[in-house]
């Protein structure tokens, strides 16, 4: 019975290459084969991805793509660190975006203050919506995995209704709100970049700090390793779940708000969810098993990959969906490896 060979314990005794690196390598090989099959030189495709992401001129694009993606990575990673899964990122992001648009368009006042109010309102609204899922689990026993996902659909649906009817900008004929007044937009930094980037970077740093150095981070990590242990040690599990989900949802709301106030300047139906930041973020978080530093790196990696995908699509005949395939292979590979590792024990 003793010395139950825990995955972490074994890692100590027998060095294995970090599995994420192997997974990425493997994905690159499979992807390369696919590219080859379509008659393009894989080296060429990968070079295009790399240049598209990292050539000096493309940095702003990559960072601009990384802002929401890393934001949504944190949304998934924070609960995952405590063994919880928030599948409702889409709904929370939409709520944040819509609330930010409404506040920014209709709240009178000096621009910067309106922008700040819009960000806060978006975070609080989305946070509360996410906390609802935790409440459903702690009070009514609906697993959060399910409740968070199910809560997503009505949020998306209602938001869609609102921009199609009551709040529609009738001058354009498209399902979108009016424009956010210039004063209430997020300050531009350089080309496509805006202060949203700094905001997400600051949040990421804060999450890292909380995870490593604080009581909250410790309790969350212990919960993630062994829920019963945390409860036995006096961690207030229900309250913790609500708070963590609030924070997770609030970040999703901020991401939505940043897109609206910083890039699109209005809420446009459907556009927010097309890039599936939520799912890329979830994959990045899973890749690192919720550990924030690893998750952030993975999020950045996916952002670079996806941005590079645009360049590859432009320059070669390989569609950018290949990058999504690569991403999925990485996750699948890890899942298989993990599962196989378990069954061997």
């Amino acid at each position: 019975m003793s010395a139950a060979p825990q995955p972490d314990a074994r890692a100590l005794s027998r060095w294995r290459p970090p599995s994420a690196a192997i997974a990425i390598l493997f994905a690159a090989l499979v992807g390369g084969a696919l590219v080859l099959a379509s008659g393009v030189n894989p080296a060429e495709a990968y070079a295009q991805i790399f240049m598209g992401a990292f050539a000096l001129d493309n940095w702003p694009n990559t960072l601009n793509w990384a802002t929401p993606l890393v934001g949504m990575t944190l949304v998934a990673a924070i609960p995952l660190r405590g063994g919880m899964i928030n599948l409702g990122g889409d709904g929370q992001l939409i709520i944040g975006a819509l609330v930010a648009a409404i506040v920014a368009i209709y709240l009178p006042g000096p621009g910067p203050l309106v922008a700040i109010a819009a960000l806060i309102a978006a975070a609080v609204a989305a946070g509360l919506y996410a906390a609802l899922a935790a409440w459903g689990e702690t009070r009514h026993g609906v697993p959060m995995l399910i409740s968070s996902l199910l809560l997503s659909y009505p949020a998306v649906g209602v938001a869609s209704y609102i921009v199609r009817f009551p709040l529609r900008d009738t001058t354009t004929g498209l399902p979108q709100t009016a424009l956010v007044p210039e004063g209430a937009r997020l300050m531009a930094l350089n080309g496509v970049l805006n202060v949203g980037l700094i905001l997400i970077a600051a949040i990421a740093a804060l999450v890292l700090f909380v995870d490593r150095r604080t009581v909250v981070g410790y309790e969350l990590h212990m919960r993630g390793i062994n829920l019963r242990f945390a409860g036995y040690g006096g961690v207030r599990l229900d309250r913790q779940a609500m708070r963590i989900m609030f924070v997770s949802g609030a970040i999703a709301g901020l991401v939505g708000a940043i897109i609206v106030l910083g890039s699109q300047f209005r809420f446009i139906d459907d556009v927010l969810l097309t890039p599936s930041y939520t799912w890329s973020g979830l994959m990045a978080a899973l890749l690192a098993n919720g550990e924030p530093a690893g998750a952030i790196l993975a999020g950045l990696f996916f952002a670079a990959l996806q941005t590079g995908g645009f360049a590859m699509q432009r320059e070669t005949s390989v569609p950018r969906v290949l990058t999504m395939v690569l991403q999925s292979i990485v996750i699948l590979f890890l899942a298989v490896r993990h599962g196989a590792g378990k069954s061997r024990e």
């Binding site: 003793s2 010395a3 314990a9 005794s13 410790y218 006096g234």
Partner: protein, 518 residues
């Protein structure tokens, strides 16, 4: 071979059933097994003893193919074998019962037993044949189990029988039992011993890991003693005694009795009033229990497992909701408080299940030892954790409790069973809480550590704290308690002062006989 104990009577027959030579297993810098030679004859019950972390479980998992040795050979009936997995070992007639059972909880007994080797009719499992085979097997080995029972509903002792049957179903010739008695009641242990004798008489060979000296004396033929991964002694049970075994294991003599002064009980620090826990549609699990533990006394809670002790303890610490009654800590009503508030009010708790409740296996020893101390100085200030203070505290506790671990940042999942127990005990004792609830505090720890933990519990008492000791070891209850409460079917049947208690009276009470009859 150091210290070869090849006494005339112990000379093994020509080809031993199982033998291992020069087994070496390293975990990084740690030598868990250091050139171990072991030889076991057919039909023998062979004890493997040693302190926590001596390398017993490691050796057993090598013999069973769960781990591969770095060096050395394993021979079965004289023929060398290379197990790459437990499946290989099973194929060669090996069986192992782990202390943490590996059963499917939602499946029935027979399904668990035939799993992986089902009798088939075409592509389908022949359920009738499987059930019959299991029932026959159980009857033949006098292992009473209901083939159709669902495993999650079974007691620990019965689950263990299922594990043994699982091995026998695959016709295991050699059975490895790693601390099988740690979780058993005395009755269950006796029936396990009966089964073991019967199996040995049939010519099966048993490797038996235990920390309990009287068990070794009662049932084994020979003993191999490990220390720091090496064989230090081989003995024939009939020609040795517990003191010699202890000396071989520890290199010193260990006091097997507890010295404790007179008790000077003070104010009541832990109290339950009419505590009730209902069972859905049955007799209450805990039925209006009243209990008082005063500062400066150790109160033992005895009883056959499953008579409401665990539920009572969970209710006291706040892990289970009451259906009636009150809990008071230091005179303060904490009935409506959660675990955190009760701990703040002065409860420390050593849980019976160290791996799934008492620790986070993938977390470091430092993190494990910090739990419960992590919100307040010196470990935390203003919501920030002082990592250096956490590490310092962990090192101090590791040293004080003699935990065998590479460093405080190593995950506790790599510790041996007894060392993990020490981590949990160290953490809870260091609370210096007015009321300590110790559930099976010495489960799986070696004799030296038992001596130490018992000493610590007595020190708690001397410091004026209230100790509620829950243990299935009657000897432990008798050695430590000032008063003994016996639980039977959810009630406290008797409150026996130490001087009136002995194994016999307690045994009768535990079987539900009223005090007058005892």
């Amino acid at each position: 071979m150091p210290n070869d104990g090849s006494l005339p009577t112990a000379s093994p027959p020509a080809a031993p059933e199982l033998s291992a030579t020069g087994i070496v297993k390293r975990y990084g810098a740690l030598l868990a097994n250091d050139h171990i030679d072991l030889s076991v004859a057919r039909g023998e019950i062979h004890a493997v003893m040693g302190e926590n972390g001596a390398g017993k479980s490691t050796l057993m998992s090598i013999l069973y193919g769960l781990q591969q040795p770095d060096e050395g050979r394993v021979l079965l009936r004289g023929e060398e074998v290379h197990f790459r997995s437990a499946l290989d070992a099973i194929g060669k007639g090996m069986g192992m019962v782990h202390q943490a059972f590996k059963l499917f909880h939602s499946l029935s007994v027979w399904e668990n037993i035939v799993y992986g080797a089902e009798p088939r009719r075409g592509v389908f499992i022949d359920r009738a044949a499987a059930r019959r085979a299991v029932a026959d097997l159980a009857a033949r080995h006098r292992l009473a189990v209901d083939p159709d029972a669902i495993v999650s509903k079974l007691s620990v002792g019965v689950r263990q029988r299922v594990e043994i049957l699982k091995a026998l179903y695959r016709d295991a010739r050699i059975l490895i039992l790693d601390e099988p008695t740690a979780v058993l009641t005395p009755q269950e242990r006796d029936s396990l011993f009966a089964v073991m004798r019967h199996l040995a008489a049939e010519g099966r060979t048993i490797l038996f890991v235990t920390h309990k000296l009287h068990e070794v004396m009662a049932i084994t033929d020979r003993v191999t003693v490990l220390r720091d991964g090496r064989v230090v002694e081989r003995m024939t049970t009939a020609e040795t005694n517990p003191r010699e075994i202890v000396r071989a294991m520890t290199g010193r003599s260990v006091s097997l009795t507890v010295e404790k002064g007179l008790s000077h009980p003070g104010a009541t620090l832990l109290e339950a009033i009419d505590l009730t826990i209902a069972a859905p549609g049955g007799k209450p699990l805990v039925d209006k229990i009243a209990l008082k533990v005063r500062g400066g006394e150790i109160v033992g809670l005895a009883g056959v497992a499953g008579n409401g002790q665990s539920e009572l303890v969970e209710a006291l610490v706040g892990l289970r909701r009451l259906d009636g009654g009150k809990v008071l800590v230091g005179g303060i009503d904490v009935t409506d408080s959660d675990v955190a508030a009760r701990r703040a009010a002065g409860i420390a708790y050593i849980p019976e299940d160290r791996a799934s409740v008492g620790s986070a296996l993938a977390a470091s020893a430092a993190d494990n030892l910090a739990m419960g101390f992590h919100r307040t100085p010196p470990l935390a200030r203003g919501g920030l954790i002082d990592a250096a203070a956490v590490a310092r505290r962990a090192r101090a506790l590791i040293a004080k409790f003699g935990v065998k671990i590479a460093s405080e940042s190593a995950p506790v999942g790599s510790l041996s069973g007894g060392n993990l127990q020490k981590v949990v005990v160290a953490r809870e004792l260091s609370h210096a809480a007015p009321a300590l609830i110790a559930e099976q505090p010495t489960r799986g720890v070696d004799v030296g550590a038992i001596e130490f933990i018992h000493g610590q519990l007595v020190a708690e008492r001397a410091a004026g704290r209230a100790v509620l000791l829950v243990s299935s070891e009657l000897s432990e209850i008798l050695a430590l308690s000032d008063r003994i409460l016996v639980m039977y079917e959810g009630r406290v049947l008797a409150d026996v002062p130490q001087d009136k208690a002995n194994e016999e009276t307690l045994g009768l009470l535990m079987a539900g006989r009223a005090p007058e009859a005892a």
